[in-house]
Symmetry: D4
């Protein structure tokens, strides 16, 4: 129910004596944020119920993460842990046997949402070294209930391999391009399609790739329009965004 | 018709003597690219017929731009010229009286596409100085046939102004956030909504804003997921991408 | 009156029939933000009533600024325009004859607040070229009702000039240090005093000063504790912050 | 006693034959700096007596640190060791059993100063990973005799958590904001309060956060005035500065 | 045979009934890329047959690399593995006993191409620490069938050592200059010869060499024309390019 | 004649009394450098006789340049002036009527060398704004006696335009790729050919293209081998290098 | 007289009743700084009397500079104004007819110091565009009383021109190397001599020279020891330092 | 003997038949470089004989270094190994028992040169963490025969500690300033003396010190003239340069 309507009803109830001013005050106390969060209720349902709260695990202690998982579970939220090692999974599994693990994507999750639609998110990765980031995007998308296809090792050094995927590109609703080194794949793909392209620079490379700055700049400056960029190695962010678009 | 079918039919016709090998060769000559562009035909219709070819005018001479406009017109494509001054418009108008001008957005265009749907793209700008970039995004979206709403001067320095726009945020299908200086608006908005947020850093600011690098990094590192980023001041790119998503 | 009390009273009035639910709803509608801004009311009084809304003028058209000034005046707010040229002042003066101008500080303002206390903010500038930034800080402080002293050209190249100011340094409540080139003055001053030092790097210098990055980094890395830093050339920000501290 | 008075008395004593010129010379020998430090005496009392000399331990050998601690103890100064591991503490404790340890803040200290006033320094941390830096600020403040409150995990991704802390924000005298990733929290808080905000960027994040450069720039460019910035991860520096302001 | 001719012949054969339309279609299916790759056929022969596919091993697991090697072998391609450790070689050797190893160059390869010509590629390295990168270039060149000479430790700090190599410089067809620290050797060599100079900056150095940025910029800005630059430490890239030129 | 032979002959002549020791000494005086330049004689012939000495005109006064031209003419060297405006040409033409001007390339030159061979250097430019840099490369190549072909506006945003040029790519001996914005064209071309690719990043673009840094990094990190890079906007350098390769 | 002795004598005089405590106090009051500046007296004589106070004119108004010149003149100090245009000189000359001007060096000065010694400072400039910076160094040196020789256009692109200057290099006591673009000259010269080399990077160049960063890094990383570096374009600083060394 | 005279004599001998043309040619063959190195002979004596060849050990294998030491010993040159660990020393000592080790400076050397003069090089270090770099400079200077004094922990945070060293500063001939963090010490010292100051930035610090970039920029931009800078942590370079100056 609309919070405006809720307030009107509450006031009428107060007027009619059905609700005491004191009780009404208690109800109103939280209204500012409830009202604020108005638009976020659905969102919260999605975040907290859908695929749970995403937790970036790097640099957090296993004990700390266990506590967070317990909190989310207590609120009956689903769970998505990114950058999670096998060891962490083994540690958490003892207490939370329902958790699952995707080792390549380094993602721990509770369960996948039921598939919402048949629209496809296509993930293209330029090189084999970019696969872990691509898999993080894929796992995020699947946990959030999307249908995903992937094509790896389709970088521009051998552009015929990309062209072999033209029908997949045509069939996709959103495309994620994962590329390190010079990151040219994003521009090339955006030039071949009218689907939104979410580009993920990776830290793959050496020297003047500057741990991902080179592909980040490349993607930022794409001469083909239709490309937006997320942080370096941020497969989760790309997957999350693509899922919002894919809805 | 599917190019594979086209080839099969052609071969059958050759076999049956309905098409000479020479003629068949001429038809096949362009097939590689036709085949390639398969997926792109719709896209091309959109690009070339829809809102025309986008031309970035800065640093191009008026004569050069006139030539490009003539070329596009000749192919019966629509036109979108970005970063175009009033002077350029006056110059082009003589030869192409059908051109229209949006001075704040610095965009010259031929015509707007018919509105495709009622889904709204909401554009939020942090400060009044960010408005020209926001307007470039808006004009691009409208020319491409989208419904657009805007809310300007809603930066985080006076966050209540942003909260006054909660219902607009709830109602939008895609949100573009335009912000310079520290660019914090993108994170805050992404924390309030489950709609995809396309962030545009602007070069507004001085000193350590480094002509837009500060907000670009801020947006890249958004602690709230659901944000992707385009190039500094790239209102056109954000509008174009949002239009692809909004379809 | 406390907004919580206000709500309670309102609810009691509704209950008693003194206020209709509809009218009560209208009152409540803005409560979320009023409530939110609870803590900000004093602040707003200070911002909006005290020295008015600060407007950064660079890159805004005179017409635009005139409109902003009119808006603020309409709300009976005081005015502080930074980075304002003489020309702009002459332009605005016609319509707003009450405006005053500090040419060196490039600040247009309505009136100074009555002096709040006798606590002194001391502004030290390393070189004569840093004076405009120092004067911006000074003007901001004075408009906000602070007592200010200055000592210019006391950079570390001739450190005896700084030591001549030891008694002023002792007497100050807050110290602003303005320095370009290598910006070493902030560390040296922080090593000599137990007062908070607000450091302002300036874009004075050339070559490897990189338009203020060198002094910014110097100040960030001060080996003497007690230093915080604002943006390059941001005299207003330093003055504003020092005024908050000086209260 | 004032050094000027001290000199006058000394000279009178010489005149009266109570002090020999030789002894007087010995006393005067140090006067230049004593005189210089005139203003710094109180400061020194604070630094050397109050919470002792702050020593940054990273990269120093345990033996070296033990020697420093012995020197300070010999002068009856109090001690504050930052970035100190548990191992170092165990090592030092054998010789200096009076030392205490705050493991989360990684701070070794001798004793806390008696609380000077009831004015509160509020420390806000955006994420749970920012807590160690926040705790370093807190421990520094407490050792220096300040009253401290904290609110962690109040980043802008879930801005309602921040708004839940509005009363704490209202009640504070100085606010420290600790944030990594995009660091937007500082701007948002400064927009909500008229208290001075000391911002600490942290190196939390990855990719384009560039080990803290992203939040540093964000904080530097805060669109809300009233923010100053210390070095990346410098919880001690923020606490020290806030303590100077809080006096 | 020219693919155009191939198509014409195929069509004639269809016409004459020598080839069925179905079989012709199967042949044509790959034609787009075959046609596209027209120019690349020779190239592919060179890449795939000549020295095999180059694989950058850093960050790839031994199992992954073994799989790649098996794939290439299956297609009867030759192999070149760069940045390969001794351990990896020992691991691969068990399954692929025909593999050879150049430890200094850290390159695993199958076999060298027969020497194509007597034209010499000369590799100059500024310091002894630059030798591994130089050796990577050398091994790449030799595997690709080039004649190579080297002169190491000829940096500009002792320029007479370089001049002792004037006759080798005169006799070379292409020159590769490998240098770290300040990278001045490339400019000096380019000033002494009219042969194309391919410059490889190395990450040798410390402090302001910024892991190779300093020599990269030096080489980019060579005041002597005739220099092009590859990525930092990219000995393979320089060797590969020089081999293309040397053909 | 070989300088070694020259010395031997000279010594024989001294022995035979045909040349006096004094005269011989005068001849020998310059021999060290002549000898040094041994390898460079041909080169010098090429540089000084072939297309003259290349002079970068930006930032030099017309008077200064006139003096340089006179010097070179006096030595009967040919002339190549880069970054030269029309005004400069008009100024120089009065005194040196034999000079010619290529306005698009902004190059003043004396005469073209006779074509040395029929091997083609192909210049590809990604966008129309990159043409001036491409033309600088072309003019340099032609003055140095090379056969040049160009294909402009073949950027990856519309990759079919590039594929239309496959036969030109196949026919070239060396390829120069000129591209700004994200510079992806170099990688794509290198993936399509086995010819050496010389990449020229241009300063075309805005925001995060950082005046050419983005395409420079892209080209440096090309995932396809066979690419080397020259300085931003350095069409001359690319042309010069390609000419050395093409010989 | 030594300030220690002065104090002892003063105390004895007080003791003996020759000086009153009050008068003694007045004398002592300034002693801290006198004592401090002890070492600086000679220096000051040099700075203030020798070649006057150096004033960097860029960004200062003519009126401001006139005031500074008057101040220095009043103290009978000599004057050195750097980065001074012809216009400024004409303006100052009216009031200070004794001023002289070096247009190429853009330096205004009062008079040259008498030559102190015959030791030579040699200034080498790589290109003709570096000459103004070299001339600034030269003028500074001459005003400070040094003997200076110069050799311009001796960059490493034509290294024989540098070798023609070997005898000058041998004869110098200190060498200043001025170079833009890649700045390799400093390393080469340091490899040829055992004299201290002071390197001045210049902002000459374009693209990846980044306004002098490239040569600055080159010089910082010189593989030949014996090189120190001053700021970009800082001819004055190099001349000043070389003069200190040359004394 | 002068090489010019040598050539003249040789030619006369050829003329007179005392030397055959063939023999004369052999003599002349090396003359270019002999002549070139003319000026370098003294230098070489200094480098090779004086303190031997300096070898940077980091990243070189012990075996490699042993070979270099053997080479230098064979030529009867002295030895200076920088960045050398204790382990390396123990390894080398077995074969070269005459080697000595300075553990703090991490320098291995053969012997110190006899003291050349009594002129003092003073080394100031800002913090205790800067001492290893300062000691590297000191050891280099002593091996090269200089008299050295040091004063450590005299950073600007407690500037009185620096002023206690005024007499040492006055007495020095050259001053080396070693400082990390913000590096302000160099400017302050240069403001107090007229001796040349060689500044060494160190990588001490964290966050925005960027591993030494902050102090490097500070030192580059010193507002007090008389400062030149060497690479980050380059104690050897500073010592070597100071030794050249001190001669």
């Amino acid at each position: 129910m609309d919070s405006r309507k809720a307030i009107k009803k509450l006031l009428a109830d107060v007027r009619r004596g059905k609700v005491s001013p004191r009780k009404a005050f208690a109800s109103l106390k939280d209204l500012p944020f409830k009202n604020l969060n108005f638009a976020r209720l659905d969102y919260h349902r999605c975040i907290r119920k859908g695929f749970g709260e995403a937790v970036y695990c790097e640099g957090k202690s296993p004990e700390h993460i266990k506590k967070i998982v317990r909190d989310i579970s207590g609120k009956r939220g689903y769970i998505l842990l990114t950058r999670a090692g096998k060891k962490l999974y083994d540690y958490l599994k003892k207490d939370f046997p329902f958790l699952k693990y995707n080792e390549c994507a380094r993602i721990i999750y509770e369960d996948k949402l039921p598939r919402k639609s048949n629209k496809i998110v296509l993930i293209l990765a330029a090189g084999t070294s970019d696969i872990p980031v691509a898999e993080e995007a894929k796992a995020t998308l699947e946990v959030m209930g999307n249908r995903v296809k992937t094509a790896y090792d389709v970088g521009v050094a051998g552009i015929h391999r990309l062209f072999d995927k033209m029908s997949e590109i045509s069939a996709a609703n959103v495309i994620i391009v994962v590329a390190g080194m010079e990151g040219a794949l994003a521009s090339v793909v955006a030039g071949l399609t009218d689907k939104p392209v979410v580009a993920v620079p990776t830290s793959i490379g050496y020297g003047a790739s500057f741990k991902g700055i080179a592909p980040l700049l490349t993607m930022m400056n794409s001469c083909a329009p239709g490309v937006t960029v997320v942080n370096i190695d941020n497969g989760f962010g790309a997957g999350y965004f693509a899922s919002l678009v894919n809805k």
